[in-house]
């Protein structure tokens, strides 16, 4: 009798613990796996579809424009951001500089309301000329992320700071966390 009571008590405790765990799992908020720069493009919606942005390609090789097209969605997850090609204060270009350790950079200006007034991205072919096309697209997709206002993240995401990590992760398009970051802005 006493053994049964102990066993029943143990079962009850286990059930309570499992119920608590389930409740915790159901109510816990997911960690934000993205970071924001704090700037955005004015005149775009803050939620829902879509921020339609224009990128001007300057001396930009064929195929790299996929870096911008990839931002619309991935694996069925939308970003609320569409990039279109055209005349713009947002530009994408290529450069060649061995004096720095970056293979891509985004240089931007913004006004007092934290709205972008320009955002210029470069692929540094000093490094990127030795990359696969996928890694080159990965670098410029990363820069496109900066151009919409995303900061660096961690793990196997597009916004991780470095190309070796993206390459070893096999990441060259926006991942769910990156797209959620874009949705948090637009």
């Amino acid at each position: 009798m006493s053994n049964n009571i102990v066993r029943s008590t143990a079962h009850l405790a286990l059930a309570a613990a499992l119920a608590g765990l389930c409740a915790l799992t159901l109510t816990a908020q997911p960690a934000l796996a993205y970071n924001l720069e704090g700037q955005r493009w004015a005149g775009t919606p803050t939620s829902g579809c879509c921020a339609n942005l224009t990128i001007q390609f300057i001396h930009f090789e064929t195929g790299l424009d996929n870096a911008y097209g990839n931002w619309a969605n991935y694996n069925g997850v939308d970003s609320n951001v569409n990039w279109y090609s055209g005349s713009s204060v947002a530009t994408a270009d290529q450069t060649f500089n061995g004096g720095v350790s970056w293979d891509g950079i985004t240089y931007y200006n913004f006004d007092g309301s934290n709205n972008f007034t320009s955002a210029n991205a470069w692929l540094n072919d000093y490094y990127a000329s030795g990359y696969s096309l996928q890694d080159r697209i990965g670098v410029m997709s990363h820069e496109a992320g900066h151009q919409i206002g995303l900061a660096h993240g961690s793990g196997c995401v597009l916004m991780v700071p470095d190309t070796p990590t993206r390459s070893s992760c096999g990441v060259w398009t926006p991942q769910t966390d990156d797209l959620n970051g874009a949705k948090a802005v637009y």
Binding site: G98, S101, W102, D103, Y107, N109, H142, H152, D162, T163
Partner: protein
């Protein structure tokens, strides 16, 4: 500014593999920033070498001063900073690992992961989640990580 790093060292072993030499020094000169057509604002920074603390791959003597490019700076009254890579300051004591990428031309290996602050003999990482530097580590300790 936001960058994608081609070199981003997460261990001293990786840093030593890619750098040519490491120095303790002081930032002595920062030239006025410039803006090229095909690239962001940059400034040229000079470090006066107090001590060469590591030579691994250098085929040339380490110069008494090392001048290199840092992306960012103040241009037309606007200060630009790469998110992970704070601007050097004149008078700042630093530990920097350089790569001689062309004869007589140097870059900081790994950008912010190849430079450290130095205060009262204690080394501080610029990017805490790259090369992990325990609190209180001195230069000799850094080289052993």
């Amino acid at each position: 500014m936001g960058a994608s790093w081609a070199e981003y060292h997460r261990s001293m072993a990786a840093l030593k593999q890619h750098a040519d030499f490491g120095v303790v020094g002081e930032v002595s000169v920062i030239a006025a920033a410039a803006k090229p057509d095909a690239g962001p604002v940059y400034q040229m920074v000079t470090v006066k070498v107090d001590q060469v603390v590591w030579t691994g791959n250098s085929s040339h003597p380490v110069p008494a001063t090392v001048t290199f490019e840092q992306t960012g700076g103040t241009f037309q009254n606007v200060t630009y900073i790469v998110d992970d890579d704070p601007l050097f300051k004149v008078g700042e004591k630093v530990v920097v690992f350089f790569k001689e990428y062309s004869p007589g031309l140097y870059r900081v290996s790994g950008g912010p992961t190849g430079r450290f602050g130095l205060a009262n003999g204690v080394v501080n990482a610029v990017v805490p989640d790259a090369i992990q530097v325990p609190s209180g580590t001195n230069v000799a300790g850094l080289l052993k990580l």
